[in-house]
Amino acid sequence: MSEATASIDGRTVAVRDGQTILQAARQAGIQIPTLCYLEGLRPEGGCRVCLVQLDGSPRPVAACHTPLRPGMRVATRNEELFALRRDILSLYLQDGKLNAYHRDHRDSEFTRLLEDHGLAAPRLDPARAGARLDQSHPYMRFQPALCINCRRCVAACDEVQGQFVYSMAERGPFTHLIYGRDGHFLHSPCVACGACVDRCPTGAISDRDRLRGEAPERVVESVCGYCGVGCRIAVAARDSRVLSITGVAAAAVNRGHLCVKGRYAHAYHHSPERLTQPLLRTDDGFKPIRWEEALRVLVDRLRGVRERHGAQALGVFTSSRSTNEATYLLQKLFRTVIGTNNVDCCARVCHSSTALALQQVTGTGAATAAYEDIDRCGCILLAGANPTEAHPVVGARLKQAVLRGARLIVADPRRIELADYADVHLQLKPGANVALFNALAWVLFDEGLVDAAYAAERLEGFAELQQFLARHALTDFTSTAGVEPQQVRAAARILGAGGPVLFVHGLGLSELTQGTASVKALCNLGMLTGSIGRPGGGMLPLRGQNNVQGSADMGSMPNQLTGYQPVGDPEVRRHVESIWGELPPAEPGLTIPEMLTAAVHGRIRALWIQGEDIAQSDPFQQHVRNALSKLEFLVVQELFMTETARYAHLVLPAAGALEQDGTFTNGERRIQRVRAAVPPPGEARPDWLVARDVARAFGRDWDYPHPGAVMDEIARVAPRLFGGVRYDRLGADGLQWPCPSVDHPGTPQVHQAAFLRGRGQLSVTEPLANPEHDVAGFPYTLITGRVLNHYNVGTMTRRTPQSELTDADRLEIHPDDAAREGLKDNDRVRICSTWGCTHVTVRLSPRVSPGTFFLPFHFPETATNQLIGPHADPDSKCPQYKVTAVRLSPPVEEPRGEIAAEAVAAPDRPSNGDAHPGPAAREAERNLAGART
């Protein structure tokens, strides 16, 4: 049979199911003018600019929403249609309410359309322009006089972000765009993703940072330097300044979408507080020095410590915000030139549990699925993650998947935004994930919902898990988890309905004393439902920092060399030595917490800390500051004088995310090219160059002319994962590892044919008591985490207008608890754990359950991590940030000053007046000291 055809402007075109006249015409290269229509969004059918004529139809039809049917004869351009379109467009101009266009917007899509139809765009009447202008928001502006009510913004907000900020009000000629509650972006639910701005055809909704109209000198494509989603960005720059950032429409990761941080929060690059020269600590404080001198000091001091105390007295914390190349070189520097495995990165304090669990279960410590699986999954289990705030672009994609029909189960002690969209919200007791996941597995077995064929073919440990679960009643698990058995059954039935399930999790699983067990128990569900390795299913942990995946990949771990190769494996050592020429000891080095404890006890004497503010970000803050203050030599590579940098002997000015070349690896193992859009300020230098030059100063002939040369070496060192990675292959969307050879296309879905380790390992995970549960005198449980408007310890975001959006950390407390404690919104309160105290401002929120608090750690004055104790997962060493027993009491002094003093303790005054490490702390410290990875 010949395929069905129709004719458009006399040209024969194929009729494809579901295709509109407009789509078919565009495919055939026939351009029909449009205004309210935008590819990828639902057709509105309102502007009627795309009217076309159909043989046999009494009147024209809109091409954007009329399906092309076999035999149709369509005319898209003739004088009659042109006149009709022009007459329709002239209605905007004749209408008294809308006759004004700003000079700056003469180039808008709308004014171009007018001009194409022989109509002149009028000028904005300045007297009217300011009347209802909304400038409430630091980034976005609305000029009602420019709005033509096309509704693109409404569709974009609904279908890209899912925030539903906009609507239309009134009707007939009075119909107009509204948003939020009162016409102020700042008071609306808008999350400033910019999806509407990008699509506005008139400039009525616009970015304030783009209004100055400065033409960019260049637009550089790179990757966002915030979270681990890895959105591709286009950076417009002029001179040495970033003008604006937009999402790359064709990007596989983000498809043009960005979040408020990625799109707007770039001002920190040009902050006057940037470090622009190396700084050397002297008796009179920090003194600027030349790089040559800095390198000489660095080499002398590191060499000196090594000579006096041995190589194992030195260590390095690489930055998860830096590039793969920088991380690789710095770990190589310490492993070869210094000769120690004391190399670690912030993955230790975030997803080390995830990486360890996934490695043991599947054979590789990374996501098994990719973001594209979100679009094709039928069911999502979201556990211990709040992606609409912490990973907003993935959060929006998850929300869209659910809005389009995917089932969603949320396991989280907080009623996070996505819980509103969930089929079942399992609001478990903080930290009780193992019991909860065991309960779900229990029901899968009980109700015959296990994918038995998958289990038989691909898994091991099945019988042991089955027997373990059979020894318990469902209520054993549900009562520990604090959830209703019926809810667990309902959730398990959804999980076990047959389709693959996508398991998305965050730090709410890994940052626990049972972090590794939590992830393993979640992996059990991934395997029992037959999801891992199937399209639309699998494990998709959300990585925190832009290159935390890459940091671990590059070998910034004390026990593994580049590419997760065991440091003690003779075969690995032979291979790596053949490239590096020298090797570290065969024994694993120390983790971050171990190095800090060793520093307290004088076994670690020198540390290099690259781009991490551990004095604010790491738990058991008193201990961290104590460790830093004991060091003989501390070098810190930073953008700003951070809490940690204050302890340094040498501070090196670093390049920001938009100032360096290299690659980042996102949370779905995608290695993407990063390019400098602007030069670093002053003498600040990219991290990889510093590592290279230090090695040279040590006398090594590290000859890497460009970061690409570093990647070539990485491919040789770890061929199984990166063998095929070359800069010239990292086209637009990069490569997802494993990519073992230059003809390999990369691997979106790992373990498709078989698990990398052979069979998937089911685990018996016994729920253990949490040391922060049921602590006498501390009746509440504190969860710490992130909010949308800030990133990590806020080093970057606090130096942008983000601080206008969120100006402080707030303690979220349930209204019932607030009533009991006599607290109301904005009250100050003193909060204490058994480890420390701080003062915070409270905000009443029904999103936490009674008995549970939530506190971010973005602002140093909050000193959130003073509250966090030394408990950690025994296997991964990941600290327990997520569960801390606390109590509230009235503020003890004039709050702000005291907090500042508590938090910003200078190195010469390291002890915290308000900290009271008791016997438990000392015991925990011993545990840390004895722990090995």
């Binding site: 009627r48 024209p60 329709i88 209605l91 609507s167 009707r171 809005l403």
Partner: protein
């Protein structure tokens, strides 16, 4: 596609959103921004969408204490010749169109929803004068004997007998009977009812809906009000038969708020029928389950358009939807849905009772059965005439005695503001969908508004434009902005010699460019009026 309502729909709320909003606004009129946000949280609809939907319905802006004054065409034409007395202490007044008392215009509703009319001869609660032209009445047979709103009266008169017999036979038989009867929708478009039902019955989906369109907004028509108020069980029986035929389990009677009494009668009728086992689980012991809800409109003419009505039922702004998909494929909440006019549904029991062949013997080959024609008080004998298709318009006007008080009628507005304007020399046309379509005429819902000689044509044009400005939904630009442009042009007549040409061109743009029948057809009577009375309307311009 996700939108502001997806979350609420995902939560499978049982309440009807517009009713929730209505209740909330009755408790707290003119809510603050905080209160609106609270209502948004309670209803699961984002606050902007909530503001949007509230502002799109006229009723939500009306003080509960306001009088609602009919500004339908009949009442418009009657002003000045009749007087309405409203007590001076009730100064609040809100215009509506129309109250459905065109046979005794002008009319208004008091704050309690009681209607008041100018006619002294016919009490306000009385049935209109009902007459028959043709072999026998099919639709009005019962009403000719009086009100049958009570269930016992209705059953005694044979209502639900067709249902009881149909339930003993397979649903396909009902569907086939309706198809073979040749009945077309009486609401205006004249689409074959059986085709619609078949499409719904065969569309995939676990749930189907039947919606009775009781949003009789066309000024000039009031048959649906009369059926809803006085023969509600006939409508319910038609819905039940439809639900049985297409496999639907739920039905909605959507009744405009301008018909408060119809709404109350229908609520009562549904309750009575449910109590009698005619609605609900296991109807008449047959195993067929069908639930019916009565939903009120909130002041929007366009919601009489079927897709706008679906939006209103879902609690959305009363805007038309893009088609395809058609409601029979994806209607209410995305489910296959039959939407039939009240008069159409009231015909269904007759078809099922008598059989398709017997029904088809009435009327013409293209238009089977009978049609009610509503006559306003411009006629000597206003009321409702049930005519067999094929009777000519002129005969109906003769039967009504021509113009009131012996005055000649200059024109007839047939089928409401989206219908056709006919001067006297065009009345010799059979009432028949086929014959009328051939002449470019639209029967619409069958309301005839007589326009007496001497009517100010410019004021009539302004009246039609005011209606369009007030009732355009705002979805598409030609109707949204063209309506206001038209009003401005007519208001500025005399200052601009080009006005007539420009106005005519504007009407063409609105007609050719508009998304739905409202814009496409509203211009028809206006253009005809300009053709017929242009010199009078544009006199100012010519005299310049």
């Amino acid at each position: 596609m996700p939108d502001a309502y997806t979350l609420r729909h995902r939560q499978r709320r049982a309440d009807w959103l517009l009713q929730e909003i209505d209740d909330a606004l009755k408790r707290r009129p003119d809510p603050s921004e905080d209160e609106l946000e609270q209502l948004a949280r309670e209803t699961g609809v984002p606050v902007a969408a909530l503001r949007g939907v509230i502002s799109s319905f006229a009723d939500f802006a009306v003080e509960p204490a306001a009088f609602r004054i009919c500004r339908g065409t009949s009442c418009f034409l009657s002003r000045g010749s009749e007087t309405i007395h409203i007590h001076s202490s009730h100064a609040l007044a809100h215009a509506i169109a129309c109250a459905g008392y065109c046979d005794r215009a002008p009319a208004f509703l008091d704050p309690d929803g009681e209607v008041h009319t100018a006619s002294r001869s016919r009490p306000r609660h009385a049935l209109p004068d009902l007459r028959v032209m043709g072999r026998e009445p099919l639709l009005l047979a019962r009403l000719l004997r009086g009100d049958h709103a009570r269930l016992d009266q209705a059953r005694a008169a044979g209502v639900y007998a067709a249902l009881a017999r149909a339930l003993e036979r397979p649903p396909a038989e009902v569907l086939r009977a309706v198809e073979e009867s040749g009945i077309r929708g009486r609401g205006g478009a004249g689409f074959p009812t059986g085709t619609k039902w078949r499409a719904c019955a065969e569309a995939p989906g676990p749930l189907r809906w039947v919606v009775a369109n009781g949003d009789e907004g066309d000024p000039g028509s009031f048959i649906d009000r009369v059926l809803l108020e006085h023969d509600p069980h006939a409508v319910l029986e038609g819905m039940l038969l439809c639900g049985y035929a297409v496999g639907a389990r739920r039905g909605i009677v959507y009744i405009r708020s301008e018909y408060p009494s119809a709404r109350e009668v229908m609520r009562r009728a549904v309750a009575d029928a449910r109590a009698a086992g005619l609605i609900g689980r296991d109807v008449l012991g047959s195993g067929f389950t069908f639930e019916i809800d009565v939903i009120s409109g909130h002041g929007s003419y366009v919601c009489g358009e079927e897709t706008a009505m679906l939006n209103a039922i879902e609690g959305r702004r009363g805007e038309v939807r893009l088609r395809p998909p058609f409601p029979a494929q994806a209607g209410l909440f995305g489910c296959p849905t039959v939407i039939n006019n009240v008069e159409t549904l009231a015909n269904i029991p007759v078809i099922v009772e008598r059989g398709a062949d017997a029904y088809r013997r009435f009327g013409t080959p293209q238009s089977a059965g009978t049609k009610t024609i509503c006559l306003n008080n411009a006629f000597a004998r206003p009321g409702i005439v049930e005519v067999e298709f094929g009777v000519s318009l002129a005969e109906v006007i003769d039967e009504a005695g021509g113009g009131r008080n012996g005055d000649a009628l200059e024109m007839i507005l047939m089928g409401g503001p989206m219908g056709s304007l006919l001067p006297a020399d065009e009345w010799d046309v059979p009432i028949c969908y086929g014959a009328m379509r051939e002449r470019g005429l639209k029967l619409g819902h069958g309301g005839l508004v007589g326009i007496p000689r001497g009517t100010d044509a410019r004021r009539l044009l302004e009246h039609l434009l005011e209606f369009m400005v007030a009732e355009s939904c705002g979805k598409c630009v030609p109707c949204r902005l063209g309506s206001r442009r038209g009003r401005t042009l007519v208001a500025q007549l005399g200052a601009n010699g080009e006005s007539r040409a420009e106005f005519t061109r504007l009407l063409r743009v609105i007609e050719a460019g508009s998304l739905c029948a409202f814009g496409q057809h509203m211009v028809d009577p206006m253009r005809r009026l300009v053709e017929l009375k242009g010199d009078e309307i544009f006199a100012g311009a010519c005299a310049r």
